[in-house]
């Protein structure tokens, strides 16, 4: 796929890069414009792949920062996961609807505006009608807008696919992100505090007092970010041992 040789050498660099990019999008769009049933195998694959083989955190290595920040307890991890699923799905949908109109030179800015507007609107509506949920979410608003997964999916998928597949892709990646987040938060809270905090239910003590009386102590390191990163590493290790296909060729 050597686009370079097809572009006239006499064009200035900027215009050449833009032509290449536009050609790439036209090719991807032609593929995507073929008709597909709503829940066809291809669309369901968009939901399934990010859960394991194309997981945004463990395979695409995106969104690590929030995976460290909000996984000290289980409840914020769940709230954050739901928010990311909603924002990724709907920003994918919006950008996909607009994809043929966005000027390529400002497309990153346009994507950022769509994400930020969506998150702010959701936060404002929650503050008015679901105040308690919005109080939990307000802390994360900044973290969601800067989450690389959302921008990453917009660039890699929504810009060149039809709205419904883009929506499914957003949901799939959000779910993949959510699963990892919940696993990490589960381990960190269980071993770091001996409890599990579930939304609407509250804090449940899991490790009984009897264990502490016998000398068991909470692992303080689990509450700190480095352990979160090590936990992600362990999950990647387990995932690759079970799926040899993920191991890169030397």
């Amino acid at each position: 796929m050597c686009y370079g040789k097809q572009i006239r050498a006499s064009l200035p660099v900027g215009a050449r890069i833009e032509k290449e990019r536009n050609k790439k999008y036209i090719n991807m769009n032609q593929e995507a414009n073929k008709k597909e049933a709503l829940f066809s195998a291809k669309n369901m694959e968009l939901l399934r792949k990010p859960l394991n083989l194309d997981n945004p955190i463990t395979v695409q290595v995106l969104g690590i920062c929030s995976a460290l920040a909000v996984t000290v307890k289980l409840e914020p991890a769940i709230v954050m996961s739901i928010s990311v699923i909603v924002v990724t799905a709907f920003s994918n949908l919006i950008i996909s609807l607009l994809r043929n109109t966005i000027p390529s030179r400002i497309r990153i800015i346009v994507q950022l505006i769509v994400i930020a507007t969506l998150v702010i609107l959701v936060d404002q509506v929650l503050k008015a009608f679901a105040y308690d949920v919005s109080k939990q979410l307000s802390v994360f608003v900044g973290l969601i807008i800067t989450n690389c997964i959302i921008m990453g999916r917009l660039e890699a998928f929504a810009m060149a696919n039809k709205p419904w597949p883009a929506f499914m892709d957003g949901v799939g990646n959000g779910l993949g992100y959510g699963i990892i987040l919940i696993i990490i938060a589960f381990l960190r809270e269980l071993f770091g505090s001996g409890t599990l905090t579930i939304p609407m239910v509250g804090e449940l003590r899991i490790i009984p007092q009897a264990f502490y009386d016998m000398g068991y102590e909470n692992n303080g390191m689990m509450i700190l970010p480095p352990m979160a990163l090590i936990t992600v590493g362990l999950i990647i290790w387990i995932q690759r041992s079970r799926n040899r296909v993920l191991i890169e060729e030397k």
Partner: protein, 248 residues
């Protein structure tokens, strides 16, 4: 894609987004403010042990809060309101005073007034003082309720905007707040001791010191320091008024 297209596209997008966000903010503002006021009442009630939902907040607030007072930093009573109606003093209801703005005014050397709530529950009197300060990532706030001896803490509540979940954010949770019950802000010798948030275990301190200290949060040192500073700075403002009231 010509430059003209790019500029037009960008301009139209900005106009649409700005219109969308400002419409949403304006239309939703009354609902948001009502929620915020109710949440504030819930926090004040919670500090002296009255559990309330946001729907019941207004009714319970009027039932339990007998006086709203605004004091100057010198300890002078500037206005007195009861059940939302002015009894004497200025035009601003103490409930509407913004601690953040008043503290800023005071720092700038301008005259500032601070709210204080007198509550009555089951025959006992409580005094609720609002708190406002700086956490690690953003503002922190809360309410401290004193028993009628104006010395013993009946309870506290804390809130924050952006502290780290599981670390600094724990100031919002019951275990941290429970520690403050029955601590004192005046020690046996009569010294002013706004509660200290200490690192390393309250149980390791001398018995006299334990009475006005609580444990900080492991891993949330800077937020804990913020709480310590907030109690120190704000209670100092109310000190003169409290001293005068205790003498009576």
């Amino acid at each position: 894609m010509s430059n003209k297209y790019i500029f037009t596209y960008a301009t139209i997008m900005i106009v649409i987004v700005a219109a969308l966000l400002s419409t949403a903010a304006t239309v939703l503002k009354p609902f948001q403010e009502a929620n915020a006021r109710a949440a504030k009442m819930v926090e004040i009630l919670k500090s002296f042990g009255v559990e309330s939902s946001r729907e019941q907040a207004d009714e319970l607030f009027n039932r339990y809060i007998v006086e709203e007072i605004a004091i100057s930093s010198g300890g002078e009573v500037m206005s007195l309101y009861q059940k939302g109606k002015k009894v004497r003093g200025g035009d601003t209801r103490p409930f509407e005073l913004d601690m953040k703005k008043e503290l800023k005014k005071q720092l700038a050397g301008e005259p500032a007034t601070f709210p204080l709530y007198k509550a009555q529950k089951e025959g006992k009197i409580f005094y609720v003082i609002p708190l406002y300060g700086k956490g690690l990532w953003g503002p922190i706030w809360g309410y401290i309720a004193l028993k009628d001896d104006l010395k013993t803490v009946s309870g506290v509540t804390f809130g924050h905007k952006g502290e780290t979940p599981g670390l600094g954010a724990e100031i919002e949770k019951l275990p941290f707040q429970e520690q403050f019950k029955n601590k004192v802000i005046w020690d046996a010798k009569g010294n002013f001791t706004p509660i200290d948030v200490v690192k390393g275990g309250v149980n390791n301190l001398a018995a006299g010191q334990q009475l006005h200290s609580v444990d900080g949060i492991s891993g949330g040192t800077l937020t804990s320091n913020g709480v310590d500073a907030m109690l120190d700075n704000v209670l100092r403002i109310y000190k003169n008024y409290i001293v005068a009231l205790r003498k009576k």
